[in-house]
């Protein structure tokens, strides 16, 4: 349409100029409507643009590696009581076995380390206090050289062959700069890891992109791991499956995933059942481009996973917001077109064709949309720095790239068509004779059912988001304030190390801490009562050799563990201080799973963990939340094992908290000069369990506010228009004796009905959506009527205020004035 205008008609440009002029003058003349249209649309587009940037970033994960479509992750799955359990890791012997059995396939193994300390020697080699210590949460790997045959990476210095020798380390450019100040001269320098390994820097690779699940920072040759089995838990056994020990696979062109996966069945049989055992272990291949989204497998090497459902929710919300903004547009433009009927009539009389009128109206829409998009880009730029609060995006994420510009163009075209075509058809269809005589009214242009449907849709979306917000915020409050069954407040956690020197200093360190006035208690343990550790073990009860179908979970702690965390006993008591497991404390879930009714009945019974000794149960603690509130409470055995009790938990008086913490840090640095201080508060750490959920709750909040804003704008615009249209009716009614209240009622009645209808649509949708979301939590709030009532009260309130204000204004006009114009 536009095309033949441009090609065949020399006056197309002039015509556009004419339209542009009119459009501009219309925008200026109807300032109110224009502001409503532009602000609603630009807020909506800005929000969608930001969501798009987040989605684009997430979806691009791991697609930077050449040939990523042929790379797979070797995943172990096992049939368990409650369905398939997936483990991203495998057993250490698997890598050699795979290479042996499938010579045509490329395999590479790695073992990841979390929270390793890297030490760069200071000037004085005897005084470790001068050393520069770095704790790396993620990014430290024992890595096979073959990894780089599969994952092509740029080498700035050296090549992957250096990783075939022991005690060699490769670092990336930014880590090199962080550790040594300059990446060009690091090769040949020495790096200490966990005060156990002395490594020689043998290569430098380029930084991994931020959209990679492989933050390759410090890569130690894989063989080094094998040579330090005790320090880094290497055991060449098929019995161990560690999520840290992962294998990646590159398929040759002539082998399909299905074929290879099939061959894994005889493979596991061959190696695992050789010793006469039976195994439920099944290996599958997870495509590299699904790694980032597969929450079944979980446990990423990078810093976060994103579930597809979160991404879907985000895109869904973005689409809803754009639809709402377009609805405003359609509603207001068709309503406004009544006022423009005269102009349209005249244009038709002056020789304008219908096509030209359609182009004119769409052109006006385009002008507003383009204007809104420019404004939206500004808004998005302002909001961009805050984006990291609702999404895991890097700090330096930019707004513009090919994708987002294309997105804006597509959005522009879609919104122009979505919100321009209907009004254009309505306007251009006016009969000139009627139009010129101002005989076009809101009723005669029709489309009232359509406009009602649009208002209903808008309110339904707003209510959906209000309900979503209320449920998400309530659930997160519930989670944050939930009774965990122990006291998480003012507990400082100091992660420690399990080398023999460190362990030997523990007792003295503990005594020093206990002498501080602000310290109420100190306990050494493997982990806090609530943690993301899952240390499972098979067990036996009461001298029976009966195997249980489920494992119990272990926590190791000293005798002060129970006191420090304020845990309560249902029966019995804690155990005496011991270096090894001599007595055990279990939780209520443990005995319930054994069908023991009363806690007392378990006291004195013996249990055996794996192939260990029989030890008596001396106490049963009341249930506490063993992981996040997403998971149900697990059966737990707590016992002593000094070798793994590396983490200190310090209970602190809340007054002088800061001073006490800094005293503790000084004591730490004096006791462990070779280790960096990494203390953190337990409650803050527990809050981090829910980072994604908290982010989602925030997203709901923000978008509910935007939705309310947009629907309010739309309603306001429509009601203002109605008030003008019904001026005469109101005047006549007043002359006939109508009260102000009855006129307000007249205006509000229709909207209240529309809100009720929208509620009927929104409620089940919201219920379904939020119920599904709550299923993520083992501990969750019930979906009560209150939330829904609040949603409808809020939206009705907004409607009443909007409609009421305009209606009162219309009702207060002296009828003499409003009727005179007729």
């Amino acid at each position: 349409m536009v095309w033949d205008l441009l090609v065949y008609k020399p006056n197309a440009i002039i015509m556009f100029k004419n339209y542009f002029k009119i459009a501009w003058r219309n925008i200026v003349r109807h300032k109110g409507y224009s502001i409503i249209n532009i602000s609603g649309l630009s807020v909506g587009i800005a929000a969608c643009l930001l969501i798009f940037v987040v989605l684009q970033f997430e979806i691009s994960f791991n697609t930077n590696f050449p040939g990523y479509k042929n790379i797979y992750h070797f995943v172990t799955s096992q049939m368990q009581d409650d369905g398939m359990a997936y483990n991203p890791g495998t057993s250490p012997p698997a890598i050699d076995a795979l290479r042996n059995d499938f010579p045509q396939v490329k395999f590479a193994a790695l073992n990841s380390n979390y929270g390793s300390q890297l030490t760069v020697g200071g000037a004085n080699s005897t005084n470790s206090a001068n050393d520069r210590k770095f704790t790396e949460k993620v990014g430290v790997f024992f890595m096979e050289p073959q990894f780089f045959d599969i994952f092509k990476t740029e080498w700035l210095s050296g090549n992957n062959a250096v990783l075939s020798q022991p005690n060699m380390v490769v670092i990336d450019k930014s880590t090199a700069i962080k550790y040594f100040g300059d990446w060009k001269e690091v090769v040949g320098k020495t790096l200490k890891m966990d005060n156990v390994l002395t490594l020689k820097v043998a290569g430098v690779i380029a930084d991994a992109p931020s959209n990679s699940d492989f933050p390759l920072k410090v890569l130690v040759s894989y063989i080094t791991w094998k040579q330090h089995p005790k320090d880094y838990g290497y055991a060449n056994s098929w019995d161990n499956i560690s999520s840290n020990n992962q294998i990646f696979v590159q398929l040759p062109a002539n082998l399909s995933v299905e074929n290879l996966t099939k061959k894994f069945v005889p493979f596991t049989k061959k190696y695992l059942e050789a010793k006469g055992g039976k195994t439920t272990r099944v290996h599958i291949l997870q495509p590299l481009n699904e790694l980032h989204f597969d929450t079944r497998v979980g446990n990423t090497l990078g810093d976060h996973l994103t579930s597809k459902s979160t991404l879907r929710t985000l895109s869904f919300i973005a689409i809803l917001i754009i639809v709402m903004a377009s609805i405003n547009f359609i509603n207001l433009s068709t309503a406004q077109s009544v006022g423009r009927s005269k102009e349209v009539g005249i244009r038709k009389v002056l020789g304008s064709s219908r096509k030209q009128l359609i182009i004119q109206v769409i052109g006006e829409t385009a002008l507003i949309v383009i204007f809104s998009i420019i404004l939206a880009i500004g808004l998005a730029e302002i909001a961009l720095p805050f984006l990291k609060n609702i999404a895991n995006v890097p700090e330096d994420i930019g707004l513009f790239n090919m994708g987002s510009i294309l997105f804006l163009l597509v959005t522009m075209v879609v919104v122009i068509l979505l919100s321009g075509i209907y009004p254009a058809l309505v306007v251009s269809g006016f009969k000139p004779v009627l139009a010129i005589k101002n005989k076009i009214t809101a009723a005669s242009i029709g489309g009232i059912p359509l406009r009602r449907a649009l208002v209903v849709a808008q309110f339904a979306i707003a209510q959906l988001l209000i309900i979503g917000t209320l449920v998400a915020v309530n659930q997160m409050n519930f989670v944050n304030e939930a009774d965990l069954g122990f006291n998480k407040n003012a507990v400082l956690i100091l992660p420690g190390y399990t080398d023999s020197i460190s362990l030997s200093k523990l007792d003295a360190f503990k005594q020093q801490l206990l002498q501080m006035p602000g310290v109420k208690g100190v306990s050494f343990s493997s982990d806090a009562p609530s943690s993301d550790n899952n240390w499972g073990q098979n067990f036996y009860y009461n001298h029976s050799d009966k195997e249980f179908t489920y494992p119990t979970f272990l926590k190791y702690g000293d005798a002060d563990y129970f006191k420090t965390f304020g845990m309560k006993f249902a029966a019995g008591h804690g155990y005496e201080q011991s270096d090894t497991a001599r007595a055990a404390v279990v939780n209520e879930t443990f005995i319930h799973k054994l069908d023991i009714q009363k806690a007392e009945q378990a006291i004195g019974k013996d249990i055996k963990l794996g192939s260990g000794k029989w030890i008596p149960i001396v106490g049963v603690v009341k249930d506490f939340k063993t992981n996040s509130l997403r998971d149900a409470i697990k059966p737990i055995v707590i016992t002593a094992r000094k070798k793994v009790e590396s983490q200190a938990a310090v209970k602190i008086e809340t007054k002088n908290l800061k001073a006490t913490v800094s005293d503790i840090q000084q004591t730490w640095e004096a006791t462990y000069p070779e280790y960096a201080y990494n203390g953190y508060f337990l409650d803050e750490n527990i809050a981090k369990f829910y980072q994604q959920e908290n982010q989602l709750a925030l997203v709901y909040k923000i978008f509910a506010i935007i939705a309310i804003f947009i629907s309010w704008l739309g309603l306001y615009g429509l009601v203002s228009f109605m008030a003008v249209q019904r001026t005469k009716e109101v005047g006549v009614r007043k002359v006939l004796g109508a009260s102000v209240f009855s006129i307000v009622f007249l205006f509000s009645k229709e909207f209240m009905i529309l809100i009720l209808i929208s509620f009927v649509i929104a409620m089940p949708a919201a219920w379904y959506m939020m119920n599904k979301w709550l299923q993520n939590f083992a501990y969750r709030i019930p979906l009560t009527a209150g939330v829904f009532v609040l949603a409808i009260v809020t939206s009705s309130g907004i409607a009443w205020i909007t409609v009421g204000y305009k209606a009162v204004k219309a009702a207060l006009v002296n009828p003499v004035k409003s009727l005179r114009s007729e």
Binding site: N11, I14, M15, N18, K21, K342, E343, G345, P432
Partner: protein
């Protein structure tokens, strides 16, 4: 130039036909100046709209410059109309958002007149109507008489053969009305524009060369002056 044969326009109300125009036949020669008169509701404006192709008759035959209008498609009709007819209204019907200059220019844009030619034509028209000084004003800034002048200028800009005027002086005082009528006479005599006007005023009707009286959708009388 224009021929209406047995034209009727009616609305179906229940089982009854409600006639607005009832079997009117009319021949108009080039260069005529016709005044249509009649009481309110007699069908004057509807007849004018049918002549101007803004409205369609229910039955009858309509020829314009030897073309059978009743058989033409909307597009062809629009082309014919654009080429030959100019319209003037009682309420002027200028586009409020456009200046005087732009209002006059608009029909030329729809007729694909080239930029330089268009400028010359508009300038000529402004000059002729003595409104050069007003060209950048908006309609709301003009008096009624001035607005109607702009309306007429706009109707004439594309050099129509026929000028249709629906109570062109209805909103004007008698002095302004007289000026407009003088202008019409001049256009008719000097430029040979065929004019058909609807009017209530006997005095204005007498500027014409023929007066047609309508009553209840029929031609009651017709006299040549």
């Amino acid at each position: 130039m224009l021929s209406l044969q047995h034209i009727s326009k009616f609305y179906q109300v229940g089982g009854n036909k409600n006639f607005v125009i009832n079997d009117i036949s009319l021949e108009v020669e080039e260069g005529e100046f016709i005044s249509i008169m009649g009481p309110s509701g007699s069908g004057k404006s509807t007849l004018l709209n049918i002549i101007g192709m803004l409205d369609e008759p229910s039955t009858g035959f309509h020829y314009f410059v030897d073309q059978p209008v009743h058989q033409l498609k909307e597009k062809q009709r629009a082309a014919l109309y654009k080429q030959y007819i100019g319209f003037v209204f009682q309420a002027y019907h200028l586009i409020d958002e456009l200046t005087v200059y732009e209002n006059i220019e608009t029909p030329l844009i729809y007729q694909d007149v080239k930029g330089s030619e268009r400028k010359a034509m508009v300038a000529d028209m402004l000059d002729r109507f003595n409104i050069v000084g007003k060209k950048d004003l908006f309609p709301a800034q003009l008096s009624g008489g001035q607005q109607q002048l702009v309306g007429i200028a706009r109707a004439l800009i594309a050099k129509p053969k026929v000028l249709l005027a629906d109570e062109p002086t209805g909103n004007l005082n008698s002095k302004q009305g007289e000026e407009i009528m003088e202008l019409f006479r001049k256009l008719n005599k000097e430029d040979g524009v065929t004019i058909i006007q609807v009017t209530h005023s006997e005095k204005n009707a007498e500027y014409g060369s023929r007066i047609i009286n309508l009553l209840d959708g029929r031609v009651e009388s017709s006299k040549k002056l």
